[in-house]
Every structure is written in structure tokens, then in C-alpha cells.
Symmetry: C2
Subunit: 333 residues, 2 copies
């Protein structure tokens, strides 16, 4: 008998199959390998990318666009949005449009082509998160942008992709639909209860333990109650805060440690699964929101039963989050 | 320079690339072939499916679950939701859940394994739409259901799939998120303007012509202004009506004709592309809504630039809908 569970953050119901217990091996899928290196993102190929907008070097202060960097951020060569141009809004009959102003940057997570984020040393993952923060703080100064979206795609079930470990940052004058929905639901909950929805979720997950994947002093990783896909995992800071970039250094360090743990557990459980990672953070200028709460969502892309959701809009998850969390908890990292 | 266009129906912004004109051939992709027939859905294999819930036979009145049918509807063998059980709602801490009650049916569009919906004779496509309507009217009598979702997936970029031409019907005690969003936006527009949003869209598209793909006396097919994917096409009835199943026989006939035209144009332009089709219709009991307007959305699955959207929630479409519509308009069907 399936169960319908409501995602309190998106206000959306999810079909959770509970009929038979599946094991992680049921979800393993052949994966398209990345292109072999070296590529334009590798150390020594700095001249093949647009000039960097940020880099952390050893020793600090080395010349830009040369080797010696640990993490490097460059503009996307084929950006979805462009930084030049003014932001202009206009109508077209009943329709609304604006110029495609934005920034689209690539965070090169390692100089080494064959590294994966979860395999990097802890200090390197901290560097990646610091790059997310530093670029967000810089891009936020541009009054044209409403949201700075940080996301990562690891692997793919259809090729080709470069194979070099990267994240992306998209600054845009608009809100992604999912963030708008979350903000709305969180505000509604806060109006009703005078508490933060995510703080309440955190407390229930921490007490109940059934869906906890990994815990740190500052953040908690768990499978959400209405997980949309098998092995979906969220990481929430314990302290209320709406903006990722405003978290404390201790919170970012703990996030790095728990993120590494989660990625390594997913890797061992599912044999290097493709996954998406999205940092959910308040829109520009709403970092003080009492109702929103930044967090990180990791969605493995296992391709199982995604069919019904993709077409009908009704997500259907074959793996109860309690089972997924138990598998991941018990898996060494 | 890309353009940001707002989808007035979902209230969501879409990035539309306008930098260089692409041709349909740029979007053609290798497709996973369906399994060869015969399969359990073929004529003569009726005993391999669950007993039918509807069939149209020549001559009418032949015995159930035998051959001689033109269109046949059977329960899904592996349903996402099940019809048995009462609908029970309960809480779990701050979470909400209910029993996974629902119906999940398969519309077998042809007895012939190797047919495709767009290649069927017009009368056969009318039969398929009639089956959608007849099953919806029957399922709506079940007071547990809030929505009857009709969708179709043709082909895939990753296998395997049966290859037999089918649609699916999902009856559920919940609304798909996308339908909830549409209802909300349409109601807001109606509150403001005292007119139906979709009626206004229809009038603008009919006058402007730039995005029209095919027109009939009762329905209009066009590329939506803020198309999320290349060659996205909507078919709207000209007369206001919230519920698909309440359309007139003339409207359903014209829908069959224009749907056939659109599918054949897509087939010729894109070499039998995978696509999704979703019937957008009012929830059960809201068929009289002055603000909602039933329609059909066809989304080719071309896998091009879907990457940014899938992760960040910002849809990015490489093909301006005006160009897509012109290509399709000019293509013989």
C-alpha cells in the first residue's frame, strides 16, 4: 500500500511506495563516464577559460590565471544569462518580459580532473563552500539580481559531460519557481505558528532519528519525510538563518564535514550515483527572514520511477525515506 | 542576448535564448527504440492484462477481454496508487499523510503494437479522446478523488519501454503541484481582470499569429510565449470551459484533428521525437470554474539545455517559440 506524504516545504504531495523493501543495489544504474582529462578546467590550462573571477592560491597572492590554485571560479563560456546590458522590463500584450541579464559562473572544485567532491580532503570542500560564499557576497552587490542560485551536477545518465568536478552559480533578476514556492509556504507556516517551519522540521527529525543520515554539532543531514526521489538528503543548519552566505565559519566547516560524509555514503551505497545538489538560500535582501532557513538538498538521479512524476506532476518515490536513511546511516563513510 | 519571459500560467520566468537561429535538425537525438511486438497490450493478448475497464469494439457489444477492440483501457499492472482501501488522513508530528488511494489505468490507443498516436486515422484518435472522457466521467464519481490526470509519454531517451502506443490515467485524492499553481495564477488573474487568463492568451495568439502552429474552428495550437522546452506546443479550445470531459463532441473532434496535425509536424520536423503530453483540466467538482480553461500541453523531450533547469529551477529554452512555430507551421503534415 503506497502512502501519500505532504512535503511541508513545497506544499506538494508525494507518492511513497512502501510495498516492499528495496536495497540500494536495486537503484544502481549504468552511468555515462565523463570525458577523460586533461580539459580546459585542469591546472595548466588556465588560458583556455575566460579570466577567473576568484581563486584561492598557495601561497596566497600568486598571479591570476596561472597554476597553483586550489579552487577557481570563471565565467561560463556558454552562459544562460549575460552580465552586460541594463535590466529592462516591458510588456508584450498580456505577456511580461525582461532582458536576459545575469551572471553564470563555474566553480572549479579541484585542479585535478579526476577528483570528485566527496573524495576531496575536508579543507578542499571547505574551500568550495567558501567560494560559494565569496561569490555570492560579490554578486549580491549588483542591484539587478534577485537570486544567486548555487547548484552542482555530478555525473549524468546521458552524456557527454566534461568530467571535471564543478559547481555552477547563476545570478538572475528572477526567483526560481521552487524557491518562490518555499518562501511562500514558509511564510504561511510562520504566520500561523510564529515559528520557522524548518526549525520545527529540524527539531522533529532530531528527536525522531528515523530519517537522520548524519549529524554534526551545527548541521543535521536527513532524508526528508516526503522525499521526491530515492535517497534524497537534506542538510539543515541547526541555528536559524535565512542566507547561506551569512552562516558562521563553524557552520560552514560542519556543513563541509557532513556533506562529505553524505556524499561518501551515497557513493558507497549506490556506486557513484549521478546527483544534483542545490543550495536553497533566501533571495537577495531577504537574509533576515524569520521564516526562511537556508539548506542544501542532494537529489540522486537514479532514474527509477521518474516517469510518472515527470509527466503527470505527481512525484512517485519507490524508496521510503526511513529505509533510505537507515541504509545510509549504517554505511561506513 | 537571452530574454526572460514570464509564463503567465505558472507565474514562472523562463530563459529564452535568442542568440542564433537553430533549425529542428539541431535538436534531433538518437532515440531508444521500443521493444518489438507483440506484447501484452497487443490484440490477441488480452488475457495478459488485468480485466479491461473500458473498450470500444467492432461491432459494439462483443465479449469483454477478447479481440476486436479499437481502444482498450486496463488497470496498470504496477500502479503507483491502488483503488482498494479507504482514504484516511492523519498527522505525524508536523507532517501530513494519507493512504495511497487512487486509480492508475492504461489507455491502449491501438491494437497494433507498431502504431503511433499521430499516425492513427482521425477516427482512432477521436476514440482515444473519447476513452479519456469516458474514464474521467466514471472515475469522477468516486468521491475520494480530487484530480483525474491524463498523460502520455511517447518514446524515451533512455530505455526500455514497451513500444506499444498508450496513455495513462491517474486518479488521486491530491492535486499535482503544477495544476495547483495554474489554478492559483488563473484565479488571481480573474480576480484582477474579471476575464479568463486563457481566453485572453487565446485571443492574443490568434491575433498575433507569430506563435500559431495549427488552427481549427474549435481549437488553436500554438507555441506558448514562455515555452520551457524547444517546440513546446499547447492546444486550447476557443470556447471557455474548465473541464476537458465537458467539451462538446465538435470540440473533441477538432482537438483530435489538430492534435494529429501537431504530432505529424513534430514527427517530420524532429524525426519522431520523444514527447510528453498532459491534459490540463479542472479538479473534480470545479468544472464550472470561470477562471480555469482546459488545454493540452505537448512537450518534446529533446534533452537540449535541460541541465540548467533541472537543477536550478530556472528553465532555459534554446529555441524561441516564434521560430519553433514558424518551422512547424511551414512543415507539411
Amino acid at each position: 500500500m503506497a502512502e501519500l506524504r505532504k512535503d511541508p516545504v513545497l506544499g506538494r504531495w508525494v507518492i511513497i511506495a512502501t510495498e516492499r523493501v528495496r536495497r540500494p543495489a536495486d537503484f544502481r544504474a549504468p552511468r555515462v563516464p565523463g570525458r577523460p582529462g586533461p580539459c580546459a578546467l585542469c591546472a595548466g590550462h588556465e588560458h583556455e577559460t575566460p579570466p577567473e573571477v576568484l581563486a584561492y592560491r598557495d601561497p596566497p597572492g600568486g598571479p591570476a590565471n596561472g597554476p597553483g590554485w586550489r579552487v577557481r571560479v570563471v565565467p561560463n563560456k556558454f552562459p544562460a544569462l549575460r552580465i552586460e546590458h541594463d535590466l529592462e522590463r516591458r510588456g508584450h500584450g498580456l505577456y511580461d518580459l525582461m532582458t536576459g541579464v545575469g551572471a553564470h559562473e563555474v566553480v572549479i572544485e579541484s585542479p585535478d580532473h579526476d577528483q570528485r567532491l566527496g573524495d576531496l580532503p575536508l579543507a578542499a570542500i571547505e574551500d568550495v563552500l567558501r567560494a560559494y560564499r565569496d561569490r555570492t557576497l560579490d554578486l549580491q552587490r549588483d542591484a539587478r539580481f534577485r537570486s544567486i542560485v548555487i547548484f552542482k551536477r555530478h555525473g549524468t545518465r546521458r552524456g557527454p559531460y566534461t568530467g571535471h568536478p564543478t559547481s555552477e552559480i547563476l545570478a538572475a533578476p528572477i526567483l526560481p519557481l521552487v524557491l518562490g514556492e518555499e518562501l511562500h509556504q514558509a511564510r504561511t507556516y510562520h504566520d500561523f505558528r510564529e515559528r520557522c517551519l524548518f526549525c520545527d522540521i529540524l527539531q522533529q527529525e532530531d528527536e525522531e532519528r528515523a530519517r537522520v543520515v548524519a549529524a554534526g554539532p551545527h548541521v543535521l543531514a536527513f532524508a526528508p519525510f516526503a522525499a521526491r526521489v530515492a535517497f534524497e538528503t537534506w542538510i539543515l543548519p541547526r541555528r536559524h538563518g535565512a542566507a547561506f552566505e551569512a552562516a558562521s565559519p563553524e557552520e560552514h566547516q560542519d556543513l563541509a564535514r557532513v556533506l562529505r560524509t553524505v556524499l561518501r555514503k551515497l557513493d558507497r551505497s549506490l556506486a557513484d550515483p549521478p546527483f544534483q545538489l542545490l543550495v536553497h538560500s533566501a533571495p537577495v535582501g531577504e537574509g533576515d527572514s524569520p521564516s526562511y532557513h537556508w539548506h542544501v538538498e542532494i537529489l540522486p538521479q537514479l532514474g527509477w520511477a521518474a516517469r510518472v512524476e515527470a509527466v503527470s506532476g505527481l512525484p512517485s518515490n519507490p524508496m521510503p525515506p526511513e529505509d533510505a536513511a537507515r541504509f545510509l546511516r549504517d554505511m561506513p563513510d
